[in-house]
Amino acid sequence: MPRMKQPESNGFWASVRPLGVYLQPHRKWFMVGLLFAFVTNALGMLPPLAIKLGIDSIESNRGTRLLLIAVAAVVVLKAVQGLFRFLMRRILIGISRRIEYRIRGDLFDHLQTLPMAFYQRSRIGDLLSRATNDLNEVRMLLGPAIMYTFQTFVTVLFAMPVMLYLDWRLTLLSFLPLVLVALTYNRIGSIIHDRSMAVQQQLSEITAKVQENLGGMRVIKSFTREEGEIEDFGALNREYLERNMSLVKVAGLLRPLMSLLAALSMLVVLGYGGLLIIRKTITVGDFAAFLMYLGMMYWPMVAIGFVLNIIQRGRASLGRIMELFSTTSEITEPPVPSPLVGDHTPVRGEISIRNLTFSYPGSRQPVLKNISLHIPAHGTLAVIGPVGCGKSTLLGLIPRLFNPPPGTLFVDGADVLDWPLKALRNSISCVPQDTFLFSVSIHDNLTYALEHDPGQETIRTVVRMAALEEDIEQFPDKLETLLGERGINLSGGQKQRAAIGRALMLDAPILLLDDCFSSVDTHTEDRILRALGNYSKGRTSVIVSHRISTIKHADQIVVLEDGRITQQGTHEQLLDQEGYYASLYEKQLLQEQIERIN
């Protein structure tokens, strides 16, 4: 279950409130972490005082005992502080990593509930970027941003009083340039951000140009346009150089400017502090301690600007992640499952479709128009028709990849909308048109849908039915051969046959085959079909195809054109009719004839 809730208002706290749920289980350790941050920074105040003590004792020449104490204190204090700093970082940054882990897991679980309609309108790259880059920005907001803010706060809280105690005028004077450090950093930071964006934009221009150029290489060569292309690229390249340099003008300024501001603070201390030493108002020890405190204040001041940047980016990223969490699926469990479907009633596999008109969510153009069909249990229906006629859509409605309108699609007499989703999909094995296989072994792909390994014998039978045995014999590791990038790449036909095997393995009462022989040669197809003939005797099958050879043995054939049923009957009946089926048959005969020549 997604645990994030979309905030109602737009304020800062409202925008980060969704993170509260994730912080909740860690609150005890989080508090401990903050406490350690407090101790760490509080302890950090002491070594300069110890050094001051040491120098003062040298100055007053009061023997070595005090000096020894001071020296020991410096080392011990740093050691203790180090221990606390170590614990603080582990706890606070560790919590941010754990929360990142939780959010990523929840996000993935949520994505798995989203319907196909969502995946059709989203780009995978964009989803990926949200689950990785954006999530990292949110983590930065949770970990480093909180840690640094707290550190700055505690350092200022402690250093200020000590410095004020040493000399309040010196403190105020030396602080002026330091405040400028924070302000400048934030200001320059935003200019740097803008110019970096401009640089990135130009980089993607360059990328696009190279991509376009390589894509159009044939035309470029035939118009001997190479020199012109180089010139065009040169212009983009020069612009990129200039944008980079305009970024460097600001980015290169940042560090020297920070140093300069710190040096100005130093100058104040040197001048005014020196005067105070001359007047004997402060000691050299005071002076040295003051210098060290000043050094200590420098980074926390820079951190303020840095943290402001992290927070801004983190909030924007959180918004993008929340957008995903607030997308919900309309493919939901029925409030009351149909009484016709029980855990112990075996599924017969009778499918009926009544006056089904369907259009995709967000579109008004119906893809299926007034379809009525009845497939008795253990029957075979074949659907054929031109590209885009709605064949695959019809098939996808049965396992509810999309929701059909209520009261139009029934399995075993119960509306599919009233079926428990899991039970419905468990009774259907499906070979989708896009034969997607995972980059695991062939064995694991075949048994993908099973809870337990079905055993050698079953696998061998399925492999034989899907006509895969010769291919598998040739693979380096047989059934254990890995697919995908780190394994072998299957041909289109092998992929389709593996997908068929995966579906057969499930042994479900309903079998849906969506144009799954298009890359399989006719001879192999014939073999598989003959094997299937036996297999599907006790099952209900729906086959979508372009090829007549695939479907001619079906009990019932339906021609779908532009979302409507235009012809219906058996192979022989349809051949006798004038229309799409007969003309397609004629063409496919011709094609075979051409192939046979030679």
Partner: protein, 599 residues
């Protein structure tokens, strides 16, 4: 952080220095040697300023504060201000110069890569995915940029800084300095161990993130399968494993960082303690001044950054070595269509094309053309037909010499095309392909690609002759309307007409055309047919034909089957033979009959 994304796991060679690569990179650096020298000087000057600052504090304490010399103190303040400003100016100058150096070098490198790509043979592009080549020209170059702008010069700077601080300390008090240096071995060993551990940890993090990305990519792409087979829970469990591994890897880096910083500080504290104790005793004995003591404490603080910086630079060097290796590999590729030694450069050819027993395969062992021979006389119009994979498009590719043949001969006006200059050859051939390629640019520059300032009159005349003038004028800006390959606004038919206008503008003697298979409405179909007729008039034309109307307008038809020409003749002759053409006609062209107006 940004650099990390460019480093891909498998290609890290691990070497940070390779003399052969370094020599080649030096070639890019050499024209900008002045910048290297200037940058280094600025850097040294800046480091010098930073070194002087603690010394000035020492002088202030010893000479002016303790003796009470206010005037002297004021003078010192001016010097301090000047040094601080110097630090600022030199710091900025160094950043600017080194970045400029990096950018210049990148510019040159990118130009070389792009220019080299322009001259590679299509065979190379068949085997190397566009995405990978794009990375060479962008990502890999960017990694090298880090080497030039922040690696090379700053390493010199860091070294100078370390040496400078050590020298300053030795000069101030050599005994105290040597004593302070006793912590150096500990510091170096710690930094070394830490960097190695962290490098391993980050490698682990990168692998695990890559796994998460790959898994998400796959699971999200195959979500329909996951849902259809009810595998959400199992998939979640598998993802949780990767997600946990990723977190563990990150927690490891958290651990090392959490350990490293306090340890560094502790070593710093020990150094300070040594200085305070030993120095303090000497001050009491009067053999050391207060100023030196304070200056030493400040120098120690400055000592740490360059040391930890130096080890970080190692990563930059390593990544740069891997990237430059890949870049030079591309630049070394010599897969080009060779130009003849003394190329023939005919001004304008007659247009007699002959294929004599041509053998060719995209892969040497998979022949696509198996002995193709035919002659096209000047001005003759020939259609090439056949089922998919018969080798029709290959004939077109070969005539423009996008690939070199493996056997036989292709001649134009009797000269082997391998003896012609590539430019002259391609200038004489007009090419119109199925999927029309649109360059980013104006309509005008798309009709006359390769010309910097095309004559408007000729452009408009070409478009008018093709019948493209009408729709072009309706575009906002007319001929100056800007088109782009991405998000192009033109319809398929319009793109087709535009590519015809392109050929018309070029007005070559030989025309090679791969007709679009995509169906368009009758009106557009008619317009395209009209344009085609005007285009092929008077030129030697080779047309891969998909339309019956086109076939009817040619002089001769070549029927290809499995890489051979099996039938040749006019439409009627071939129909009468009742061979392959007859079957093809029934299959592909018969339906078109009512849709095409008879000419």
């Amino acid at each position: 952080m940004r650099g990390d994304s460019f480093i891909s796991e498998d290609t890290l060679s691990g070497k940070a220095y390779d003399s052969r690569l370094a020599r080649r990179l030096y070639k890019y650096l050499r024209p900008n040697m002045k910048l290297v020298v200037l940058g280094s000087l600025a850097l040294l000057a800046g480091s010098g300023c930073q070194l002087i600052e603690p010394y000035l504090v020492k002088v202030g304490i010893d000479r002016y504060m303790l003796p009470g010399d206010v005037e002297g103190l004021v003078g010192l303040l001016w010097i301090y201000l000047a040094v601080a400003l110097g630090d600022f100016v030199f710091g900025f100058a160094q950043a600017y110069i080194t970045n400029y150096l990096g950018q210049r070098t990148m510019y040159d490198l990118r130009m070389d890569i792009f220019g080299h790509l322009q001259h590679l043979s299509l065979r190379y592009f068949d085997r190397n995915p566009v995405g990978r080549l794009v990375t060479r020209a962008t990502g890999d170059v960017e990694v090298l940029n880090q080497l030039f702008s922040s690696g090379l010069v700053t390493v010199i700077g860091d070294l100078a800084m370390i040496v400078g601080i050590m020298a300053a300390m030795l000069l101030l008090d050599w005994k105290l300095a040597l004593l302070t240096f006793s912590i150096l071995p500990v510091l170096l060993v710690l930094t070394f161990i830490f960097r190695r551990k962290l490098r391993e940890a980050f490698r682990l993090v990168r692998t695990r993130i890559a796994r998460i990305t790959a898994f998400l990519q796959e699971a999200l792409s195959g979500m329909s399968v996951v849902q259809l087979f009810n595998q959400q829970e199992k998939t979640s469990a598998r993802f949780a494993v990767l997600n946990t591994q990723n977190m563990d890897a990150h927690l490891k880096t958290v651990f090392y960082y959490a350990l490293f910083y306090p340890l560094m500080e502790l070593i710093g504290a020990v150094a300070t303690a040594i200085i305070l104790w030993y120095g303090g005793l000497q001050v009491m004995e009067g053999t050391l001044t207060f100023g030196v003591l304070v200056a030493f404490i400040q120098y120690t603080a400055k000592f740490f950054r360059p040391i930890s910086d130096l080890s970080e630079k190692y990563n930059i060097f390593q990544a740069a070595a891997a990237s430059s290796e890949r870049i030079f590999e591309l630049l070394d590729t010599r897969q080009i269509i060779p130009e003849a030694d003394n190329p023939v450069r005919p001004g304008r050819v007659e247009g007699r094309v002959e294929f004599r027993d041509v053998h060719f395969g995209y892969n040497e062992d998979e022949p696509v053309l198996k002995g193709v021979s035919f002659v096209a006389e000047p001005g003759e119009k020939i259609a090439i037909v056949g089922s998919t994979g018969a080798g029709k498009t290959t004939i077109i590719n070969l005539l423009s010499r996008f690939y070199d043949i493996q056997g036989g001969e292709i001649t134009i006006d009797g000269t082997d095309i391998r003896k012609l200059s590539k430019k002259a050859l391609r200038r004489n051939i007009g090419l119109a392909l199925q999927d029309v390629f649109i360059f980013s640019g104006t309509v005008k520059s798309n009709i006359a690609p390769g010309e910097n300032d095309p004559a408007m009159e000729r452009v408009a005349m070409s478009a008018r002759a093709i019948g493209a003038d009408g729709f072009i004028r309706k575009l906002p800006g007319g001929y100056d309307h800007v088109l782009s390959e991405r998000g192009s606004t033109l319809s398929t038919g319009q793109r087709q007409l535009l590519s015809f206008a392109r050929v018309m503008y070029k007005s070559p003697r030989i025309l090679v055309l791969d007709e679009a298979t995509s169906s368009v409405d009758t009106h557009t179909e008619y317009a395209i047919q009209q344009a085609l007729e005007r285009l092929i008039a008077g030129r030697t034309s080779l047309v891969v034909a998909h339309r019956l109307s086109t076939i009817r307008h040619v002089d001769r038809i070549l029927v290809m089957h499995h890489g051979r020409i099996v039938e040749t003749g006019s439409h009627e002759q071939l129909l009468a033979r009742r061979g392959i053409y007859f079957n093809l006609y029934q299959l592909q062209y018969k339906d078109q009959e009512p849709a095409t107006p008879e000419a």
